[in-house]
Symmetry: C2
Subunit: 259 residues, 2 copies
């Protein structure tokens, strides 16, 4: 969606290692925004984005208009399944339908061998990977680890909405994930207990209105088996009017892992 | 879906004229059948189908199992829009979602330049064409005219469900389309009046339980503009327990046209 930051640029570098030709799509996709969300105010800085991508050696930037992507009469949507009904899917009805639809379209148009997506949007990554598999799309979906600011805040185009006070407190998401990791390292394996431990961190940060903190199966987002080997912790909430998300994947010994 | 008849074979011949390599999919697709429909009893005669296709010079027959097409965990569906809500879409909830989904999958797997579909499933043709356009699939959807039995009955794999008495009466669908054509030729341009004229034919055939007869815009299935140039008449109903459909495209002068 543009408004590129270092997290996006690392996706580009990862793609360049995998392929000779790298294409980047920049499209603030209206179908993935709800009626009361930030579609209108979402940052659009195409010239700055193009300059950054030029420096990274990107071959193709695909930056279509809304009318090109959704002409009059457009009516077919790609509807993801159960994985899109929970967490961000419950908080943002229709969001993942819009994401799956635009990704299916972009994959058809660009026909990539690989697509590199950020782990920061963990649920999105799972849904798009499932969509590609379910619709037999000839693309391999790769996840790139979350890129963070020095204090631990996951990079996001929406971070620029935060005022100084909010920005200072935004590290609370990462701190809650750290607390979950410590609980796991100390032997806690019960997802509810892990989450309860992590949520205690929010008590010290009344400006953060937490929406969910869960510890779930990394492949299905369902309740983990009792003998789980890996677990993903996902957190979301509002800092002021800005919705923030973050996540971390842990081994049974509490070590953070990559996808 | 197999159980091939002369209508299917003409699709193959049409495809051979367009392309060097012709692939045929044979798959009785469970997602396009409702819970009380004929999925279980739908005719499956793969060996006979393969022999027919061999004679036609088909290069590839893709006949997957249900488990190959819909493995455990499958959850992404392609949801067509307004055009799928009316007529057969209203009579068969979810039917066109299943059709659009399996066609999207088949197109991804086989990657055809052209796909030839029968005009008999007129609404299906429009929905799949719209799906391919909406999802930017690199396939051109072509329609082949309806192939009919000598008495006018549109060929269909479901015709074999008809007993002798039902088979004799099944020509009533074609007769209703003829009546519509005559009404148009005599100057009638009002869709409701055309349909009313056509429906009179059903009075002579009490065994045919008609579901709908409409005269609509050939591209959108909506009410035609008053100054329409072409109109499509679509009819559906039950002969005993067998659901039959048929259609015809007419010019303003009442001549039957092809898509």
């Amino acid at each position: 969606m543009g408004a590129l930051h270092e997290g996006h640029l690392q996706l580009v570098r990862c793609a360049r290692k995998k392929a000779d030709v790298v294409a980047v799509s920049i499209f603030v996709n209206p179908t993935q925004f709800g009626p009361n969300e930030d579609f209108d105010r979402y940052p659009r800085v195409l010239d700055a984005d193009l300059e950054l991508l030029d420096r990274e050696g990107v071959s193709i930037v695909f930056a279509p208009s809304v009318a090109e992507m959704y002409p009059d009469g457009f009516q077919t949507m790609v509807e993801p399944g159960a994985m899109a009904q929970v967490l961000d899917g419950a908080a943002r009805p229709g969001h993942f339908r819009g994401v799956a639809t635009v990704c299916a379209k972009l994959f058809s148009i660009l026909n990539p061998d690989f697509a590199v997506m950020g782990q920061k949007d963990y649920q999105q990554f799972l849904i798009v990977r499932q969509m590609a598999e379910d619709l037999n799309l000839p693309v391999q979906i790769l996840a790139h680890p979350i890129v963070r600011e020095p204090d631990g805040l996951a990079m996001s185009s929406r971070n620029r909405y935060l005022n100084a006070r909010e920005r200072a407190q935004a590290v609370v998401l990462r701190r809650s994930l750290d607390a979950a990791g410590r609980a796991i390292a100390s032997g806690e394996a019960d997802p509810d207990a892990i989450s309860a431990e992590a949520r205690k961190v929010f008590n010290n940060c009344p400006d953060f209105l937490h929406e969910y903190f869960v510890a779930v199966d990394p492949d299905t987002l369902a309740k983990p088996r009792e003998d789980w080997n890996r677990i993903v912790c996902l957190v979301a909430g509002r800092m002021g009017s800005t919705r923030l998300i973050d996540n971390a994947l842990f081994s049974r010994s509490g070590e953070e892992e990559t996808l």
